[in-house]
Symmetry: C2
Subunit: 178 residues, 2 copies
């Protein structure tokens, strides 16, 4: 960050009055430019006992498998965001969303929020961010080709809870990118 | 938003390549300025059967009562954020945090995440954003002077679950500011 979004003048790094940490502050008009963590919302879409996975058509981790998830947008709810991302990436409509897991990724200032959800029909199609989309059984999950640790951890917790027949809500921290 | 934070030139509103919604894009260097929902993290601090409330020393809703909560900062986890806000606003140390409720506030593009938590000792003190901090029993909660609907809803869900003797994880949408 170099310039003020409001007046275009130079930013300086300093602690604003009444604050306790460095921010980017405009040297001319005083506007404080806050930066906060971003939320990633996504789902574990189930059809019968199979899970919907997407193969990434974008970097990072091109060609690897993931669950539908992406950055939450302004003016939507977390559930609407998870539904939108699943429709965009996998062409699939979710139903019966239930919060399942939340992960803080402090090294990239992100928070993942993953929902359990049902597919009403086995209809899906790769969106422009996906090379392929498929329903997989537990035995078919490509563990060596999962794109991110947060997705692997979500799948492991989900399968463990499903085996127990009791789903909890999980909160955890992920400290590595790959 | 008027000017590019990177190069200081004028921003235009357009749909970037590969995107599907309007963003602020620099007409000179092409930098896309994304805006996403912010997370507010907070707690329902309990000591024995009483709850810690803070009386706001800042606008909006100066003088009204709230739970300790505030904007999550970069490079922290959701739990660390809730602990930090409680220390800043109420001078109190939390223990045993457990995710309790999540609320989407699409009209202000915020997501609240509230934890149940214990105070190890009944020590607290108003921070500079609080006029007063106190432990209240259920009967003493000043329902007519609660600052925000999201805090009122959090307290009601918490008390209902406590009465049942079983705490769930709740997700909801709040559509009004006051």
């Amino acid at each position: 960050m170099n310039f003020c979004v409001k007046c275009g003048k130079k930013l300086v790094v300093r602690v604003p009055d009444g604050d306790d940490r460095n921010r980017y502050v405009c040297g001319a008009c005083g506007t404080v430019h806050y930066s906060n963590p971003k939320m990633v919302v996504g789902a574990i879409p189930e059809y019968e006992d199979r899970i919907l996975l997407c193969r990434r058509a974008i970097e990072p981790r091109w060609g690897l498998w993931t669950l539908p998830a992406g950055f939450m947008e302004n003016e939507e709810s977390v559930e609407e965001g998870a539904k939108r991302e699943t429709l965009e990436e996998a062409g699939a409509e979710l139903n019966g969303l239930s919060p399942f897991a939340m992960f803080s990724l402090p090294f990239v200032s992100q928070v993942y929020l993953m929902f359990r959800a049902r597919l009403l029909t086995p209809h899906f199609a790769a969106g422009h961010e996906s090379l392929d989309v498929k329903l997989v059984s537990e035995a078919e999950i490509p563990w060596d080709e999962i794109a991110f640790p947060v997705i692997e951890e979500t799948l492991r917790l989900f399968l463990a809870d499903r085996k127990k027949g009791a789903f909890g809500f999980h909160s955890g921290i992920i400290n590595r990118r790959i």
